[in-house]
Subunit: 319 residues, 2 copies
């Protein structure tokens, strides 16, 4: 925890900070930035929050989120910067100018340790969990229900509701600690998960209704597809399909799930998800993409259902 | 914890048990029965597991579930019985004959304390949490990963993935403890939530695609409906609609969600769910039903969309 001590000194030393999220910032990144913002304010310090993309509306309930600025370029005027979940500087999606000392706060294993201070723990479920442990150690008295709600948002979203393998004993211990600090877990989950756009919900419905299961040589595959005209019909954009790739894998008896999303006319983003029996990043690589063993992706050009054929053939080759 | 001491004595005293679940047993009930079964076996005692309805397939991975018997009537031959989440004897849905001493293990506030030994804690998130605390106190060394997975199934399903207001500090503490006993939280969640029937998923899709939002005088209502012919078309039964009632409430800007399910020709089960602004059990009561302030239900006879009109009018009356 030597890094935590250094982070404490980093915070003590400065009076104003620039907090930077990653491209398409998620619940972990946004919740943790919000929590840092509240703590810094209580310390009498100022913070500017910047992200490259608009914050999804389901995080608007968090205290600091209304102050988040969406920017392409930012002049830091020599202020110290804390980057959240940015494995490298480009990951922020922001052209940062004139930044001062940088703290790099992350839990991803591919982090490049590029900053003056690198606090990177790939064992942590989330940066929310890291922040909770840091705050508990140094700012115990400043943790209020807003901080707790922000950090629970981070932890709950990044662990899929305590469902993923990144959950450790410490993750539950931190959640238990946050309960003692006024966490309203129901409020958080209602806001984050119970606030769905009707258009997106109907699009999801159409997508689920039309899922297809395909028997391959040695395994079962389930796929779903959304064409540009479907997005248009439901008054949605590709940003409304976040998480859709996980549904086909969730079908009983299915080993691999595939989500085809037409991102431009005749260009399909293909997301591959495996339950663990079939390795999918080889297939993705053969089609010019990449990724992890059990979660990978690629882009395939062509018209439907030729694109489907291309991907299915690649799977058969690979078996 | 006097009751826990008595339960320990109850278990010590007998060598064979009948474990009884409630009608349409859920993850909490099934997981906890499974955990008790494993512990009893390790103690060299025998257990019979009985339920009134088939166990949903997504719980088949739990160690003891293959031994569960589905019965209407059961001759206990004077064996001691442990009833799980049965507020009264009828709640089991089983005609129990010749039962011996009864232990009543529940966390619902409406429990009737009808048994020789009543272990009822309405503060507990789940009977899974109660069981974990009991086992930790008396059978610490017998808790293995199968017990931990069974109890996590119970806790995770009954708290909506640590999302509901029944979650306490102790709930997370118990989960943390189960991690130290070999809990595989990812396995549990993959099995419980990632094992959906394709037919049910398509039915859910159709339901979501056709959700409607209705502006009432002082609030917004979202409803979905499934007719008998829809269930038939998707090759599903009403049992495949478990949890469907929660989706309409999950829409942004909506205060009340309503799910209409045709259970017989011209007979609709109506499930009402509120986000907290509108009290719904009064509406349900006016239509001959009942329930909690924010989750209630009733049955309305008639043809669609007359049934919808009836319910909407009742809401307008109530405003």
């Amino acid at each position: 925890m030597k890094e935590f001590e250094k982070l404490k000194q980093f915070i003590d030393k400065h009076s104003g900070f620039v907090l930077v999220g990653h491209k398409n910032a998620d619940g972990d990144c946004i919740g943790t930035m919000s929590a840092f913002g509240i703590i810094l304010e209580k310390l009498g310090k100022s913070a500017v929050f910047i992200v490259a993309d608009p914050v999804p509306h389901n995080y608007f309930f968090l205290k600091k989120v209304k102050d988040f600025k969406v920017v392409n370029t930012f002049d830091c005027k020599q202020s110290p910067v804390i980057l959240f979940e940015c494995g490298n500087m480009e990951r922020s999606g922001i052209n940062l100018e004139n930044y001062g000392e940088r703290a790099n706060f992350d839990h991803h294993p591919d982090n490049k340790f590029y900053a003056e201070l690198n606090i990177v723990n790939p064992e942590a479920s989330s940066v929310g969990e890291m922040a909770a442990i840091f705050f508990r150690e140094y700012f115990e008295n400043l943790i209020d229900s807003d901080v707790a709600n922000s950090l629970y948002t981070a932890i709950h979203t990044d662990t899929g509701g305590f469902a993923y393998s990144n959950v450790k004993k410490s993750t539950f211990e931190v959640a238990s600690y946050l309960m003692s600090k006024g966490l309203d877990n129901q409020l958080v989950c209602n806001e984050v998960y119970g606030n769905n756009k009707i258009e997106k919900t109907r699009l999801l419905g159409y997508y689920l209704e039309n899922l297809e299961v395909k028997k391959m040589k040695n395994f079962n595959l389930c796929y779903g597809v959304l064409a540009l005209k479907d997005l248009e019909r439901f008054n949605c954009t590709s940003r409304d399909t976040e998480n859709f790739a996980n549904y086909p894998r969730g079908i009983m008896g299915v080993d691999v799930g595939v989500f085809f999303l037409e991102v431009e006319q005749g260009v399909f983003k293909v997301s591959l998800r495996s339950k663990g029996k079939v390795i999918v990043n080889k297939v993705a690589a053969n089609l010019g993409g990449g990724g992890h063993k059990f979660a990978a992706g690629c882009t395939v050009k062509g018209e439907w259902p030729r694109v489907l054929d291309t991907v299915l053939k690649e799977f058969e080759k690979d078996e």
